[in-house]
Each structure stands twice: as structure tokens, then as C-alpha cells.
């Protein structure tokens, strides 16, 4: 978050691949963003360790050409995403730069593009009245983004209560236009536009409470719904060897699951697979709206040939965008393919910093990092009584199909649904290759879900359980 004060400067003292050490002349905080000056371009980097006046930063670009002594400027802000209307149907990189606005076949170093279209006009309608008291996350107005209602909210960074002093009437505005003026308890005026920023590594917590999820999420995939159902706001993961259909299963889920918004984080996958997503998704018809699926989808792509540090950021960027839409009372389905590559990015940096390695050289705190990330998903009650959810399904590509490796093990501890893809089933062309015996859904043990299933007509109705682990 942005702090007031003097800008800190530094000079490069050492370079190890994309880990750069910088000697600084002032205060620097963990995860702060800085820019390294290289001829006519600025390279974006993030602080990952601070020791006395020595700061370790991971550069989101190739560090080719950097020299000792080059200038670094710190921003006093953490890595942030820009939130506002126009996120849907865009293709971003891991740092929320719009890929479609970049020129050339390959991405140029230091080519940073804007996340939103600041010129486009949106049909805005206010949802509050002058004199209303609001807090962070409350809905001030609404625009229609493609087909989805997009709420303009009190910025999440605002603390305490605010009173609506002035409202802009309904009409067409661009995202930078002031749509409301609020006053805080000390009568200071603040302008609110349709956009706001939020640091990706901090969860957005502008909800009232976050109960255990209990509502079934219909996916239309029989082996999931009938045997091991996932719930709205639930977490699941799909480990599977190469070619066992992880990606096809995720695509099937993104197309058919009962979600309002789909966010796909293609993290560290091969570029040709990601290109497939880019070319396929705009063509797919949405069975729910009758339009194109892409209109309610955002893709965050960070392929295996893109810088490794940005790969780590990409899953956080995806989750933050998901939390933003959840605050609007929408059902978000977040798919990450694959979380193993993200863990590999963490491992690379950890090793370069010469930290004590854990199992398979992954950082010691890998289980904690994975748990923290998965816990950001969930079903929430907003302050205005509406509900929203993020259902997170990640894939894991265990090396050599070994399900005992650290990423799978750590994920198993936190994700409540486990859809094991079996090589044997894939080889005998039994798709989806989800192994019915190894897979499980711990949500079936939740009395809340059982109660929900009993109550609603959407009961999956297991007359007799043919798998002994299912209790219903």
C-alpha cells in the first residue's frame, strides 16, 4: 500500500539470474515494488528480503544487460492490481498487463500496458443516496460489464465509516470520472472513481463473515457431481500425470460449471497450450447466457517461457481479481493450471537466496504458502446480506506421477476435494480419467452440505452408496 514520504533509491550490488541485490539509502518494506533503470526502459521488481541496507529483489523480466551500480527507484507500494469495469474478456499476464495491447510476436522487456480501457464509456447507475453511511466494499453504483452487473464499490483501502456527500447522476462515464464524493468522520472529502487498486498478496476482507461452504456447485461432470461433489466456495485439486486430461477437465469445468465469472490462471504451462486457450475460449458458446463464454472470463497467462517471478505473482493476481468479483455478490470459479509450476517458481527464488531447503529443495514454508493461498477461496456473506463465492480448483503436475511429492502433499492438506487422474484409466481411454476409488470430497462429511442436499430439490439422491467412503 502506498505510503507518503521520501522515495528510497538504491544501486545494484549483485546479480544472480533474476535475483538482484541492491544497496539502499532509505527504508524499504517487504514486497515493495521497485524499478531498475536500464537505458530507456524500467524493469519492474519486487522486494523479497531486506537485510540491513541490502535488499534482495526479484526482477519480473530478464536481467540481461544489468550492471553493478545501476540505479534503482523504490515506489513505496506493493504489487497492486487495478480493479474496475473492463476486466472481463481480457487476457492479462501475471502482473495484469493487457497482453492484447502489446505489440510484436514476442513480449518486449519492460513493455507494460494498462490493465483497463480508460477511454471506454460505461452506463452508470448509482445504488446509494446522498447521506447514506458506507464502509469499504459497499456498493455505490453499477455498470453492466458485457452481460454481468458490475458493482462500483467503496475502495477496499478505506478504513472506518464514510458518508455519501455528492453523487454523480446516472449516465455514461469513463472509469476515471469521479462518481461519488464521500466524507470521513473528520469531514475530509475523498473522491471515488470506478477504479481502485489493491495489493495482490493481501486478501480482500470486506465481507461480514465466511462460513463453511455448504451449497453444491453443479458442474455437469458426472464423476464429480455424483461421486465427489464440490461446493460453492470450495477448494479442490486435480493431480495427474502428463496427458491424463487435467487441462481438458478444467476446460470442461470452466465451460459448464454453475459460475458467474470464470478466471483461468495459466501458470507456467507450455506456450502452445496457452495459445490453445486464447484461440478456443473466444469461440466457445456459453450455455448459460447464450453468448460467448469469453464475455464472463478473464485469462491470466504466464507461460513457461515468461519470467519466473511473474509466474509467482500470476496466481495472486488471479485470486485478487476473483475476490473483487466475489465482493459484488458473484459466484467466481478460479482455475489454476498448474500450481506445481508456481511452487517451482518459489523454489527457484528460495534457492537463489540460499535459504535452507525443505523436501525436494522446495522452500521450508511451502505448506504455509499453499495453505494461505487456498484459504483465500470461500463462500462469504457480504455486509449488505448478499453472498459471493470463489471456488478454487488447481491442478498439480507431480513429477513422474509421484503423488507423495511436497506440492501434492501440501495441497492435499488444505484442498477439500481431490480428483486423482489415473494414468491407467487415461491409457485405456476412459475419460475423464478421475479415479473413483482414490478421489474424495471431504465436503460430503459436512453436516451443512448434507442438510442442504436434504432440503433442496437439487438433491443428488444417492439411494444407496456404492462407494463405502460416502456417508449420506
Amino acid at each position: 500500500m502506498k505510503k507518503e514520504g521520501k522515495t528510497t533509491h538504491g544501486k545494484i550490488a549483485g546479480i544472480i539470474a533474476n535475483l538482484v541485490t541492491v544497496e539502499v539509502d532509505g527504508p524499504v518494506s517487504q514486497n515493495e515494488i521497485c524499478y531498475i533503470k536500464l537505458a530507456d526502459i524500467d524493469l519492474m521488481a519486487e522486494v523479497i528480503k531486506v537485510f540491513e541496507t541490502k535488499v534482495f529483489v526479484q526482477v519480473f523480466e530478464s536481467t540481461r544487460g544489468l550492471k553493478i551500480g545501476q540505479a534503482v527507484e523504490f515506489t513505496n507500494a506493493m504489487l497492486e492490481v487495478t480493479l474496475g469495469p473492463g476486466i472481463l474478456s481480457r487476457n492479462y499476464d501475471g502482473l495484469q498487463h493487457d497482453l492484447d495491447r502489446m505489440e510484436g510476436v514476442f513480449l518486449k522487456r519492460g513493455d507494460y500496458t494498462q490493465a483497463l480501457d480508460f477511454e471506454k464509456l460505461w452506463d452508470y447507475t448509482p445504488l446509494v443516496n446522498i447521506g447514506d453511511v458506507v464502509i469499504a466494499g459497499d456498493w455505490l453504483g453499477e455498470v453492466i460489464e458485457n452481460v454481468m452487473p458490475h458493482k462500483i464499490m467503496v475502495p477496499f483501502k478505506f478504513e472506518g465509516k464514510y458518508t455519501v456527500k455528492k453523487l454523480t447522476p446516472a449516465g455514461q462515464y469513463n472509469v476515471n470520472e469521479v462518481i461519488a464524493i464521500l466524507t470521513d468522520s473528520k469531514n475530509n472529502e475523498v473522491n471515488v472513481t470506478m477504479t481502485q487498486t489493491w495489493p495482490v498478496k493481501i486478501p480482500i476482507k470486506t465481507y461480514k463473515n465466511k462460513p463453511r461452504p455448504f451449497k453444491l456447485l453443479e458442474t455437469g461432470v458426472r464423476t464429480i457431481d455424483t461421486l465427489n461433489p464440490i461446493v460453492e466456495g470450495g477448494t479442490g485439486f486435480i493431480p495427474g500425470p502428463f496427458g491424463s486430461g487435467k487441462t481438458v477437465l478444467q476446460h470442461a469445468l470452466s465451460k459448464q460449471a454453475e459460475a458467474d465469472i470464470v478466471i483461468v490462471a495459466a501458470c507456467g504451462e507450455r506456450a502452445n497450450e496457452v495459445v490453445e486457450i486464447f484461440t478456443e475460449f473466444p469461440e466457445i458458446d456459453d450455455p448459460r447466457t447464450g453468448r460467448k463464454l469469453m464475455e464472463r472470463t478473464t485469462i491470466i497467462a504466464n507461460t513457461s517461457n515468461m519470467p519466473v517471478a511473474a509466474r509467482e505473482a500470476s496466481v495472486y493476481t488471479a485470486m485478487t481479481l476473483g475476490e473483487y468479483y466475489r465482493s459484488m455478490g458473484l459466484k467466481v470459479l478460479l482455475l489454476a493450471d498448474s500450481t506445481s509450476r508456481w511452487a517451482q517458481a518459489l523454489r527457484e527464488m528460495s534457492n537463489r537466496m540460499e535459504e535452507l531447503p525443505g523436501q525436494d529443495a522446495f522452500p521450508m514454508d511451502l505448506p504455509a504458502i499453499i495453505s494461505n493461498f487456498y484459504s483465500r477461496a470461500g463462500y462469504v456473506f457480504l455486509n449488505n446480506g448478499h453472498t459471493g463465492s470463489i471456488t478454487f480448483i488447481g491442478t498439480v503436475s507431480p513429477a513422474g506421477g509421484n503423488l507423495k511429492e511436497p506440492v501434492t502433499e501440501s495441497t492435499k492438506k488444505v484442498a477439500r476435494c481431490f480428483y486423482a487422474l489415473s494414468q491407467q484409466r487415461a491409457d485405456s481411454k476412459r475419460y475423464p480419467a478421475v479415479d473413483p476409488i482414490d478421489s474424495y470430497s471431504k465436503y460430503l462429511e459436512y453436516p451443512e452440505l448434507q442438510e442442504y442436499l436434504r432440503k433442496t430439490s437439487a438433491k443428488i439422491g444417492l439411494k444407496k452408496c456404492f462407494l463405502p467412503k460416502i456417508t449420506c
Binding site: 453443479e218 461432470v221 458426472r222 464423476t223 461421486l227 470442461a252 478421475v434 439411494k463
Partner: protein, 116 residues
């Protein structure tokens, strides 16, 4: 799970080395596998199954799995269950409760009645 065990036993002991019940367990497992677990992600109808349809299908499959079919010899089991699987798969590819769907459903009832 029982189907998987039965399949291993049949593989080890041979088709005629196990009781008919083993064949029945194996083929019941195959019905669940082919009809419920397997799904065609590239077929317009089969790619998505509504909860109502899943419930219907599950009940139908369980009904078949719970029925005691009569067989004289083990080599009658394989073709009979293949007919059932084929019929149910055709149902999966037809629109729910459409004329075609109902036609396959009545064909299925005829097949299952044959050996009750």
C-alpha cells in the same frame, strides 16, 4: 472396487476358473464406469449432465447392479452386459426425456426383463 478385484481374479484364474458371480461383479463395475464415470467432453449433450438427469441415471444403474440376472454360463455375461452398456451410452448421447431417449429406455427395460 469389487469389479476391479473380480477383474484381477478373472485375469489370474481365467474366465472359466471363477464362479459366474465374479463375472457379474466385474460387469456391474463396468456399467458404472462406462455409463456414469466416463463422459464425452466433446459431445454437445453428454458433456453436461443436469443434476436431475444424474439422479435418474444413477438410480437406473443401481437398479441394474442390484438385479439378480440369471446366466447358465459365463460366456453369456459379457455380450449381455455389453448390450446394456451400449443402450445406456446411447441414452447419454440423447437429449433427456426426448423421444429417442425414451425409446432407448424402453429397449433397456426389454433387455433387463430378459434375464430376471
Amino acid at each position: 472396487m469389487r469389479g476391479k478385484e473380480a477383474s484381477e481374479q478373472i485375469n489370474i484364474l481365467g474366465d472359466d476358473g471363477v464362479p459366474i458371480n465374479y463375472h457379474l461383479s466385474f460387469w456391474r463395475g463396468e456399467v458404472i464406469d462406462f455409463v456414469i464415470l466416463q463422459q464425452d467432453a466433446f459431445d454437445d449433450i453428454d458433456k453436461q449432465t443436469s443434476l436431475e438427469r444424474q439422479k435418474f441415471l444413477l438410480e437406473k444403474v443401481l437398479e441394474i447392479c442390484e438385479t439378480d440376472f440369471n446366466f447358465e454360463s459365463f460366456d453369456e455375461v459379457n455380450p449381455y452386459f455389453k448390450r446394456i452398456i451400449n443402450n445406456l451410452k446411447q441414452m447419454n448421447y440423447s437429449e433427456y426425456k426426448s423421444e429417442k431417449f425414451n425409446q432407448y429406455l424402453s429397449e433397456l427395460t426389454t433387455i433387463t426383463d430378459e434375464r430376471k
